[in-house]
């Protein structure tokens, strides 16, 4: 459990760093955008109104920077991420929480599919070195090197615009349907999610395949695998032995990859006008809505840290050496 404790410490420190960056960045930038925000929100109103706005955006000029920093923490701990500039009275928290379920559903499902599929294909590629799967690797490298959103644009162009198999945009048919818990709505949502999910899988699967394949090749040369074969175990059992051990680095690689995948998925959402965080992000960029941008950064950071923590638990569960270390 020492590993888990160490990792949790790291995540807590990272979260503190992220929050601190978030607080100081606007105040260190040339021209102090924090004050510019204020200028944008107020339109020459009474001193009381200005004071109220200052309070709302946490940029009170009187409390001094450390006072503001403490204030910022107090706000955050109360779940207050600030107020949107663009959708004015709406809080950043409410904007994010209405977009978050879409992103979590899409990215979560696609990532799990990609990881499982990639790992299995990686095992297959290692087992049959030099087969057609290996020849596919350069093509998969392209999909990995190309930005997610370009893969998304290709997917829209081919499967939605050209072939018309899937809807090209949005999370559900906003014109004809209202969100409800019935089959019609759910199937419509699934129909709209297939293409974005496919894009994320296609763009991220190559990394898992290559990682697993390379690890599997190394593992297959271990003595215990040779022994398992010498004992005459059926092939699928031998593969199972090797794969279980080769899987470990891929699980720890998950922690590294999740940040990239989430970022890529946000861009994918933009191409599909999918009503998730990515879409909120691009709208906020367009209208210089800094509080929302910063809120999104914090939420994504926390989501990534939680995903990392889960990967660590899985790792500890899979690797008895770590469990016994304590």
């Amino acid at each position: 459990m020492r590993l888990i404790v160490r990792r949790i410490t790291l995540y807590v420190v990272t979260a503190i760093v992220a929050i601190t960056i978030n607080f100081f960045l606007p105040r260190l930038m040339p021209g102090n955008p924090a004050l510019a925000v204020l200028g944008k929100a107020q339109s020459a109103e009474s001193p009381q109104a200005v004071a109220a706005l200052e309070l709302q955006y946490g940029v009170q000029t009187r409390t001094g920077i450390w006072g503001q920093y403490v204030q910022y923490w107090v706000h955050l701990l109360h779940g207050n991420l600030g107020t949107s500039l663009n959708a004015y009275p709406a809080s950043v928290g409410s904007l994010i929480s209405s977009a978050l379920p879409w992103t979590l559903g899409l990215v979560g499902t696609a990532t799990v599919i990609s990881f499982v599929l990639g790992t299995l294909l990686g095992v297959a590629a290692a087992w049959r070195r030099g087969s057609w799967l290996d020849n596919l690797l350069p093509a998969m490298t392209f999909f990995q090197a190309a930005p997610y959103f370009f893969v998304a644009i290709l997917a829209v162009a081919l499967f939605a615009t050209k072939l018309g198999w899937f809807p090209p945009s949005q999370g559900y048919d906003t014109a004809t349907l209202n969100p409800a818990f019935n089959w019609q709505f759910i199937s419509n949502v699934l129909d709209h999610a297939v293409l974005p999910a496919l894009t994320i899988v296609l763009a991220s699967v190559a990394g898992w395949i290559i990682g697993m394949r390379n690890m599997m090749i190394t593992t297959m040369d271990e003595d215990y695998v040779l022994l398992a074969q010498a004992e005459g175990l059926p092939r699928h059992k031998v593969i199972g032995y090797a794969a279980r051990n080769a899987l470990l680095p891929n699980v720890s690689g998950f922690a590294l990859a999740i940040g990239f995948i989430v970022s890529g998925a946000l861009l994918t959402e933009i191409v599909f006008s999918y009503p998730g965080i990515g879409y909120l992000l691009v709208n906020s960029i367009g209208s210089d809505d800094y509080p929302v941008l910063q809120g999104i950064f914090l939420i994504i950071t926390i989501a990534v840290l939680l995903a990392n923590l889960i990967a660590d638990f899985v790792y500890a569960f899979l690797d008895p050496r770590i469990r016994q270390e304590a």
């Binding site: 992220a18 087992w127 030099g130 290996d134 350069p138 190309a146 644009i153 191409v271 994504i300």
Partner: protein, 321 residues
Amino acid sequence: MQRLLRSPKILTGLFLSVAFAFLAIAGPFLAPYSPDAHASTTIGIAQPPSAAHLLGTTQTQQDVLSQLLVGGRSTVLVSLVAGVVATVLAVGFGVAAGYLGGWADDLLSMLANIFLVLPALPLLIVIFGLLGKGGNPNDLLIGFIIAATGWAFGARQLRAETLSMRRLDYVDSARIIGERSWRIMAFEILPNLVPVVATSFLFTVIYGVGTYTALSFLGVINTSHWSWGTMLYWAQNAQAAQDVHLQWWWFLPPGLAVGLFGTGLALLNFGIDEYVNPRLRAAGLTGRRARRAGLPRRSRLGMTPVLPARAPALPAREAAR
């Protein structure tokens, strides 16, 4: 070195990378039009490729080919700057952490780990968003900022490699002779880390291309500053892929360029990996070559298939089946 140059992966990768480097230098001179010039102000839809516009035009009748050629320089430059700066940081942090050990290692590793788990793209969006979209963006500055978020992966790898090296006899003897720490790191340890440094450099350049393209696609960087990402931004804005008249000539070239540049760098990276770890290389055997060499179709466990130089068949070492 010769072995390195025989690998098809290395060769393809080198070819692609050199081609894109050439494009970055010569592109703006080769562009037939100005990327901003509007060929016509009356036509409102993107025109398909023609003799006058080899890659067609955008919705506002700008020449796609010229944008591609001009935008290449900024894209390649930013990613190279990001790669160089991030690699320097990675070497500094990684080797120092691995060699010095103790509290310096704890501190530097903690820093690297924080940057490793901090999601880079959202952070960069906040930074660039706050910097403001106005003004003429500076490619060098963009490269530096991207590098600041991309050095941690290389640093972690270099630290691990340095750790395994610091207790080697030759390093110990250098220490006993009285060489200074920085000298040992720079002249005794670093030369043995060249493949790792190269991999980490290529990795960060790939990261730089992807990140820069993503940032300009999002429109956080001035959208009149031509790069492949900006081209995709405008194409997406005009719904070039969603339009019933699919404007493939608009979104395909910049996307393919980013993808091919990245693929070239990634292939170089795989080539170096295989050079360092020859076991991975056996996969370079195509089915035909393997059969001709008399290798079993399905590789046996416990042995790495190795092609003999010219011998007709392998000495049959039948591993347990």
